[in-house]
Each structure stands twice: as C-alpha cells, then as structure tokens.
C-alpha cells in the first residue's frame, strides 16, 4: 500500500523546489489539506498564500506564471474548478499562462460534507475549455510522475487527486506521459478504462471476473482525460471487445462520454457502459460508501462488466 497521492504531490514538489527556485506554490488557506506545511516551512519564499479567495488564487497564479514562475495553484478541487472557472478559462488557458492547477481532495473525497465539497463536474467543465491538460493520477507512481512532468511542461495543466492512501497498481512502471494511457492489466475478453482513484477497484473487479469466470479484462489507467489517448482507445476497441469506463465524476461530460464520443464517430460498435455518478442529488457518506452506492466498487464494476458481456 502506498500513501495518499496528496502526500506524494507535496513531497515531490518539495524535492523539485530544492533545486528549482522558480517553483512556487499558491494556496488558498489550503496548505494543511494540501500537505504543504513542510514545503512552506522550508521554502517560505516559494509559497504564496492568498486566503480563501479562489478567483484571486488563479489570477495571482497566472501572473506568477507569466513572470516565469513554475506555479502550482493548490486548492480543493471543488472550489478550484468551479469558483475560479472563469479565471482558469481566461487567465490560465486563453492567455496561455502555464499554471498547474492542483485540485486536492477531489471527487467525493469529502463525501460526507455534501455536494458543496464534491468535485464531480471538473472534467466536464475543463474538457470544454481549450488549452488545458487534465490529469487524474491513479496511484503514487502516476502522481509523482505527473508532478515532475508538470514542472517541465510549459502548458496549463489541471491535476486532481484524493486524500486516501492508494495502493500501487503495477510494480513495473517505467514510463509516464501526459496523453498516454497506462495499461495495468492485460486481457482479451473485455476492456475497463478507468481514471484516478477508480482504477484500483477496476483492477479488483478484473481479478474477480477472472477468478469466478475465467474472463480476462484489460484495465487501463486513463490518467489523462484530455488530450485523450485516442491511439490506445482505437487499439482497445479494435477487436470489438465490450468496453466499460469508470470514473469518480458525473457521467455527464466525463471520461466515459469522451471515449464514447470518439469511438462512435470512428464507427466502432462495441457494447459500451459508463460507470460514474448519475445525474441526481448525490448521496453522502465516505468515499467508499459513495463508490459502493453507485457501483464504482469491485462488486459494482464486476457486475456491470459481467452483465455487459452476457447482454
């Protein structure tokens, strides 16, 4: 078992900041939840606090990035991607200021706190904005790589992850690239395309399908929602296998719809199912409870896959 991706983010950023004094973290009273306390203590000149003011957070970050700073704007994903959406659209993306927007405690990490604290809209909102890379790392490896790559990528990036400790998905990790999905399990019978913290239950579901029925699933961590790895997507769909997508996001406008839209327009006729949060008043509870409720769990994904294959 690894640690929380948030912790990986802060440790990696701190390591990078040791040798790169242009790295700046901007926070909105979020250095505690963003695990940036030690970073701020060690590099007081590389952290800018703006208080609880997300619009200003992103505007200030855009100005810092424009002045040549490698800027990471860190705030709960729910506020960052909604309250500051116009600043993301205009000041970061349209003006092409290379800010890395770090949405912490994303999805339903704050499950029991209610819809105000859920970020289940962020993929959809940001997919509709030009000039931004959207990344949801699944495990510690992907998070560390994503942070390192973000520091080298001179483009607007939105990165989101949760606060729960995440298991390692695959020990044989060598490469990580934005826009290139990572296959964490191979199988010929069906395909599960998941992202962020849903990749792990997708792997568990694949194992259950194999253990119970001998069905072998390919599981892909589609950590980059945009640009979508369409090359991999076509390969996955090529032999007509059923495809299931899984995400900690509304079904509306997320990973599943992005995949379906691409494949349908390319003429693929694979049977297809999107697992995510439906368009309804979202229930509350822990992240695990909400996952279980909406079938974003080992059993839920297993059942959806099994039903789709036998449909």
């Amino acid at each position: 078992m690894g640690i929380a991706n948030q912790q990986v983010f802060s440790e990696t950023l701190q390591e990078l900041a040791e040798t790169d004094r242009t790295i700046i973290a901007v926070t909105s009273d979020s250095r505690g939840s963003g695990k940036l306390g030690p970073f701020g203590a060690k590099y007081p000149n590389q952290i800018v606090e703006v208080g609880i003011a997300e619009q200003n957070l992103v505007g200030v970050a855009a100005g810092l990035a424009s002045a040549g700073k490698k800027t990471f704007a860190v705030s709960p994903a729910c506020f960052l991607s909604a309250r500051a959406l116009e600043q993301i659209k205009n000041d970061v993306c349209y003006s092409d200021n290379p800010v890395t927007l770090v949405g912490i405690s994303s999805g339903v990490s704050y499950g029991a706190l209610g819809t105000t604290h859920h970020s289940l809209h962020d993929f959809a909102a940001l997919r509709a904005i030009n000039n931004i890379i959207i990344v949801a790392p699944a495990d510690n490896f992907e998070t560390e790589q994503a942070v390192r790559l973000a520091a080298k990528t001179n483009k607007p990036i939105y990165m989101r992850y949760g606060k729960k400790a995440m298991p390692f998905l695959n020990e044989n990790n060598t490469t990580f690239e934005f826009g290139k999905g990572r296959t964490v399990r191979q199988g010929d019978d069906l395909v599960i395309i998941a992202t962020g913290e849903t990749v792990y239950p997708a792997c568990l579901a694949a194992k259950k399908l194999e253990d119970r029925h001998g069905l072998k699933a390919t599981v892909v961590s589609m950590h980059t929602i945009k640009p979508l790895d369409i090359e991999l997507l076509e390969d996955l769909a090529a032999n007509g296998r059923p495809i299931v997508t899984v995400e900690e996001h509304m079904v509306n406008g997320g990973l599943g719809e992005a995949c379906a839209s691409y494949l349908f327009q390319k003429g693929f006729k694979n049977s297809f199912k999107i697992i995510g949060i439906p368009d309804e008043y979202t229930i509350t509870g822990s992240q695990v409870e909400i996952f279980n409720h909406y079938g974003i769990s080992q059993d839920g994904i297993y059942k959806t896959c099994f039903d789709l294959i036998n449909d």
């Binding site: 505007g59 855009a62 100005g63 810092l64 424009s66 002045a67 800027t71 003006s95």
Partner: protein, 274 residues
C-alpha cells in the same frame, strides 16, 4: 516628449480611436475616450517597454483590466510602433487579431482580458514575482469603475496590501458611468478612496485628462512606502467630443458620417488651442 506634444498626442489618439471605431462600425467609444490620456502618458512617459523587445523580462507590465476599451490601447500601441497602424484596418474583422478586447496575439499586449475583474489579480501575481526576484520593474493596471463590484477585485485589493506591493499601480478610470447608467445608481461604489484606504492602499486622486497630473502620480515613486498605489483618475466618458461627453448612448455607440466629421472638427479646433 514635451507636455505640449503629449497633449497634441492625446488629440491625435482620440481621432485615431474614432477613425477605427467608425471604420469597424464597432467599439467602446465613450470609455476609450475617457481613458486615452492615461494610456498616452503611460506609453509615452511612464512604461519601460520596447516595441522591438517587448518580451524583455525587465519590462514594466501594463494589463488593461477594462479590456473593452481596447481601441484606446490599440491606437496607442500602434503609435508607439508595436505594430503597423494599417493593421487596425482589420479591427473586428473575420480572423483579425485586432478584436474587441486585448489579446496576446498583438505585440505589446500582456494578457488576454475582456471579462471584468481579471486584470488586478494577474497584476498582483506579477508584482509578487517581481518582488521575490528583487526586480525593479513596475506593474500597472487600468480598472473601470463599472467593474469595481466584481468580487475578484476586492480579493486582489486585500492581497496586494497584504504583500505590501508598492510596485503595483492600479489606475481607476473614474468616469462614473456604465452601460446601464450612473455607476453610483447601478451599484454604488462611492467613497472609493475611503474604501481603498481602508483596504490598505495608498490613494491619490487626479484629473485623468491632465497629462501633467497623470505623469506626476505615476513617476514619482510609490505614494507611500509599503503600500500598493491606487490612482483615482477622474475622467469624463466620451471626453473631447461635446455631444459624446457624459452621454450614455456613446458607451459603445458608433458615429454616423455626419457625427464623425463633427467630432473630428471639434478635435481639430481643440488641437489649435494647445
């Protein structure tokens, strides 16, 4: 440039604004005429910017928060040699970079603005970066009074004072009118001086059409040590054309051929008096 030359330049720039708005049949006429003296002084007396080396890291920054008055910015930049004036003949035309708001596709433009309440937060980031790097360049923004109710401005007012950004200058084009009516009636932001002082800014009020006063406010160092600078420039919407001054119709009104000729003749008369 002498003050007389600067005043003549203001008249010239007003004529240019009208020329290109008249040609494009679109533009924010009243606001462009209210802020053009400020832009004239900024680009000819204040800003350390080089049209041939605009991306120089040590340049002063100017970000126009009231992006809709882009015509005033474009004619000023063209006059300073940032791009050929003939480019402006494409203003608001299909695929032109000279659109109704500033974009970085145009040499001399720092940031893409247009949505209101965005310029100041970006300037705060620029000013913090300059301080962190011990650089001496300054950061300027032009705010409209109509955009003051945007909450992001007040978030940025707080942070600029918190970080003691004496390298930051926010200039308010205080023409006291916006598209719906008088600003005090649409959403009252009166006592703006007291509000900004309470937020921790150093404030100076000037006549925003007096080039000497504008230059004096911007070129004599920070108004107060350790405080960001807020310049309330009292202006008149539509300034320089009698029938446009204070008349809301000209917020984004386009003159008819007769009105255009009348405006030019008035400006020529004013020119003769300088």
């Amino acid at each position: 440039m002498t003050n007389r030359e600067l005043k003549l330049k203001s008249i010239f720039l007003r004529k240019q604004i009208l020329k290109y708005i008249y040609g494009a049949k679109a533009g924010h006429t009243g606001g462009s005429l209210s802020c053009v003296d400020i832009l004239n002084v900024l680009y000819n007396k204040v800003l350390n910017v080089d049209p041939t080396d605009f991306k120089n890291a040590n340049r002063d920054r100017y970000i126009q928060s009231k992006g809709h008055c882009v015509e005033a910015l474009f004619v000023t930049l063209a006059d300073r040699g940032f791009f050929p004036e003939s480019d402006l003949e494409t203003l608001c035309q299909y695929r032109s970079h000279y659109i109704g708001h500033p974009t970085k596709k145009v040499n001399g433009v720092e940031q893409n603005t247009g949505a209101l309440g965005h310029g100041l937060p970006i300037c705060v980031g620029e000013a913090i970066a300059a301080k962190l790097d011990s650089k001496s360049h300054r950061v300027f923004t032009l705010l409209g009074d109509g955009e003051l109710p945007e909450g992001s401005n007040w978030e940025a007012f707080l942070s600029a004072a918190h970080y003691k950004l004496e390298n930051l200058y926010a200039i308010l084009d205080y023409n006291k009118q916006q598209i719906t009516g008088n600003t005090s009636e649409v959403m009252n932001t009166d006592s703006v001086r007291e509000k900004l002082e309470a937020f921790g800014w150093a404030v100076k009020e000037i006549d925003g059409h007096n080039v000497e006063e504008i230059e004096a406010a911007l070129n004599n160092g920070p108004l107060q040590s350790g405080k960001p600078n807020f310049i309330i420039a009292h202006t008149i919407k539509g300034k320089g054309v009698s029938y446009m001054e204070g008349n809301l119709k000209w917020h984004h009104g386009v003159p008819s051929p007769e009105q255009y000729e009348l405006a030019l003749s008035e400006l020529t008369e004013a020119e003769a008096l300088i």
